[in-house]
């Protein structure tokens, strides 16, 4: 037995810190009780901010630790920053909701921190087992927060559905992992990549086996990013879960799962790029199409956002199917812009209260431009941006992925994407139409709250003025993409 050497803990500093912080918050919450929820929320945000800073100050170059289970590089740093910001912002926008809607329990922020920790582990996973542990850590927390309003039938239903289907996807993932392990003999990503480059080629059985294993893994990851045909849970869960939780689902876990998807496909299975891009193209087209068409009939805005997020995943995957560093950069930029728009959109939805009650129907937005012009303007900006109208941020997100696809000769995919976004524009702009041209309904409660206003203003400004100074984001995404695809 080889002597044991302590691993280097420094690269995992943000994760270790967040793990410690989550347990500390949990203990503090137990002793102080539910009246500490607000404090806990802010402390959780502070912890995430601290982790954010740690991610930034850590060295950029690729480092592995914990005996190859854990990896950090620029790509991981970029994605972790997104996830941490997304999680902290959803906690902040949810403050008012949590207080009013009977979710005022200190476990909520703590569970969000646990979930965020899981996402960070996912992003830094460098081994199939580490991937699974991170994914489960995240998923389990998400199942719980989805059902967090346990007195609400819809919330519990959402949690249960998500749990059952998530368990199936975990089963698929494990099955796929076991096949890959069986045919390559390793679980580490570098080992798999090496095996695929050296021992597997020429061996028909191993080639097929690994490929089918990859299909299972891909299916599980597609479930996590809610790509068609593994998306079915999304509308129900988004609609049923408490709104801040939905905002969280739409922002952080999606980014983390996308990061994992990129790392798995471009890291260990890079050799099989010619094979898996068929899955990605299929899934991408199906997601764009479904996201565009199914959203049209929706009346509930959270459900609409669910389909919208399915569509957005489809667009982002266009960049992955290009398989070039430009394409990956496109995906990263897309995810960033998507997260900003989604957070803004959900901040608007969280402001939809009439006489103290949350409302979620699109018809409730009628004539919002008269009753609350600034909220209407903000939502209109996000909707136009999601529809991809220039010069808003969403347009650039689409532009970069489509350009990458066209550069690789994937004209059909790009054309389909543009067509789908045209169809998608219909339902986004319908919301604008309802707000600006329909007879005013009863206005929403005012004030919307300082936290919501601040988030609305921040996300709105980024969406509106992304075009003026995109250089730092593009540079960051480019460096991250280069780390993944040297």
């Amino acid at each position: 037995m080889q002597p044991f050497v302590e691993p280097d803990y420094l690269p995992a500093l943000p994760e270790l810190f967040l793990a410690g912080a989550s347990v500390t918050l949990l203990m503090a919450g137990v002793f102080i009780g539910d009246r500490s929820t607000r404090l806990m929320t802010w402390l959780a945000c502070v912890a995430m901010a601290a982790a954010f800073v740690m991610v930034l100050v850590l060295p950029d170059e690729r480092t592995t630790t914990f005996f190859g289970l854990f990896v950090t590089d620029r790509f991981a740093a970029f994605m972790k920053c997104l996830v941490l910001v997304g999680a902290a912002v959803t906690l902040i926008v949810g403050l008012g909701y949590v207080k009013r809607e009977g979710m005022n329990r200190f476990e909520f922020p703590v569970l969000i921190v646990f979930a965020t920790l899981g996402m960070l582990l996912m992003i830094s996973a460098n081994d199939l087992i580490a991937l699974y542990v991170g994914l489960e850590l995240q998923s389990l927390s998400l199942y719980i927060v989805a059902a967090f309003r346990r007195d609400s039938l819809r919330s519990t239903e959402a949690g249960l559905k998500y749990f059952v289907l998530g368990a199936i996807s975990s089963g698929l993932l494990l099955y796929g992992c076991s096949m890959v392990y069986g045919f390559t003999g390793v679980t580490g990503f570098e080992g798999i990549a090496e095996a695929l480059a050296t021992t597997v080629p020429g061996n028909v059985a191993a080639e097929t086996g690994v490929l089918i294993g990859l299909v299972f893994i891909a299916a599980a990851l597609a479930f996590k990013v809610s790509a068609v045909p593994f998306h079915m849970w999304t509308p129900d869960v988004y609609e049923g879960a408490p709104t801040p939780v939905t905002a969280f689902f739409a922002a952080a876990p999606k980014v983390a799962a996308m990061a994992l998807l990129l790392r798995v496909f471009l890291g260990p299975f890079h050799e099989l790029a010619g094979q898996w891009d068929q899955i990605i193209i299929f899934v991408s087209i199906a997601s764009m199409g479904l996201g565009a068409f199914a959203a049209i009939g929706q009346k509930n805005i959270k459900r609409l956002m669910a389909y919208s997020s399915i569509g957005h995943v489809g667009y982002a995957l266009v960049g992955l199917s290009a398989g070039t560093p430009e394409g990956i950069r496109g995906v990263l930029v897309y995810m960033l812009i998507y997260m900003v728009m989604t957070l803004g959109g959900f901040a608007c939805i969280l402001a939809m209260r009439q006489r103290g009650q949350m409302v979620e129907e699109i018809s409730d937005l009628s004539g919002l431009s008269k009753t609350n012009p600034s909220l209407a303007l903000a939502l209109a900006i996000f909707m136009f941006s999601m529809a991809g109208i220039p010069p808003l941020a969403g347009f650039f997100g689409k532009l970069y992925v489509f350009l990458a696809a066209v550069d690789e000769g994937l004209y059909g995919l790009a054309i389909f994407g543009v067509l789908a976004s045209v169809v998608g524009a219909y339902y986004y702009i319908r919301i604008v139409k309802v707000m600006y041209f329909d007879q005013p309904a009863e206005g929403f409660d005012r004030p919307v709250g300082v936290e919501l206003s601040a988030v609305l203003a921040g996300t709105g400004i980024i969406t509106l003025f992304f075009f003026a100074y995109p250089a730092p984001i593009l540079a960051g995404a480019e460096a991250a993409a280069a780390a993944l695809m040297p």
């Binding site: 037995m1 044991f4 691993p7 793990a19 347990v23 949990l26 914990f66 005996f67 289970l69 854990f70 329990r105 476990e107 703590v110 569970l111 646990f114 920790l117 899981g118 582990l121 087992i129 580490a130 542990v133 991170g134 489960e136 850590l137 389990l140 927390s141 199942y143 719980i144 059902a147 967090f148 346990r150 949690g159 069986g182 045919f183 390559t184 003999g185 390793v186 095996a195 021992t199 597997v200 061996n203 028909v204 059985a205 191993a206 097929t208 086996g209 089918i212």
Partner: protein, 209 residues
């Protein structure tokens, strides 16, 4: 060698058969019992692979705890499974077809692997030689060192599961009087016990708080 092969097929067939019965049997109690049977046979398969620790864990944890808990829950909840199952048969044909296709494909993959001798050589040796070190010790050697990261991660998952169970089910009921031991211990007799001289025959001199 031949005995081992026979044992393997017996155990494997029973495991799969029991698995099918778990979802096929009408009585939920039978389902759980079939589940336990499947676990036992899986444990047997583990033993055959030399992973006796995992085999014991499977028996102790899954059979001893999880499956028994299932059994209790099933018996306590008294759910009408026949009703739930009504939709089941409706989708059985198409579901069965898809399942069989998937199964056939997987068999195809593995069958080609079984014919091809090359594959096993790529598989790393999973366990150290049994005559040098026991299975349990071998696991322990890596679990708390090289895989400490995963071990801690798994610990967090369990913690979350616990927190989740409490959050989703624990209720503080308002109509139940709880025993507050600290209050009882800290109580000062002087504040509650009042010693009064009562004149025999006198009326109504109680001072009430």
């Amino acid at each position: 060698m031949i005995i081992q092969t026979i044992m393997f097929y017996v155990l494997a067939v029973v495991t799969v058969g029991a698995g099918v019965m778990v979802i096929a049997s009408r009585n939920p109690v039978h389902s759980v019992l079939f589940l336990i049977l499947a676990f036992f046979n899986s444990a047997g398969l583990f033993v055959m692979m030399g992973a006796e620790f995992l085999a014991m864990i499977l028996i102790i944890v899954y059979v001893g705890a999880v499956a028994v808990l299932f059994l209790f829950v099933v018996m306590m909840l008294n759910i009408n499974f026949a009703e739930l199952r009504a939709g089941f048969l409706q989708y059985l044909p198409i579901g069965g077809v898809i399942g069989i296709i998937l199964l056939a494909e997987l068999v195809l993959v593995f069958a080609s692997g079984a014919i091809d001798i090359e594959v096993p050589t790529t598989v790393a040796s999973p366990t150290p030689p049994a005559d040098e070190i026991t299975n349990t010790q071998a696991l322990g050697d890596v679990l708390y060192t090289h895989y400490a990261y995963l071990f801690q991660g798994a610990g967090f998952i369990l913690l979350i599961a616990m927190v989740g169970a409490i959050v989703l089910t624990h209720r503080r009921r308002a109509d139940v009087r709880r025993q507050r031991i600290t209050d009882q211990v800290a109580r000062d007799p002087k504040a509650t016990v009042q010693v009064t001289d009562i004149e025999p025959g006198a009326e109504g001199t109680w001072k009430s708080d």
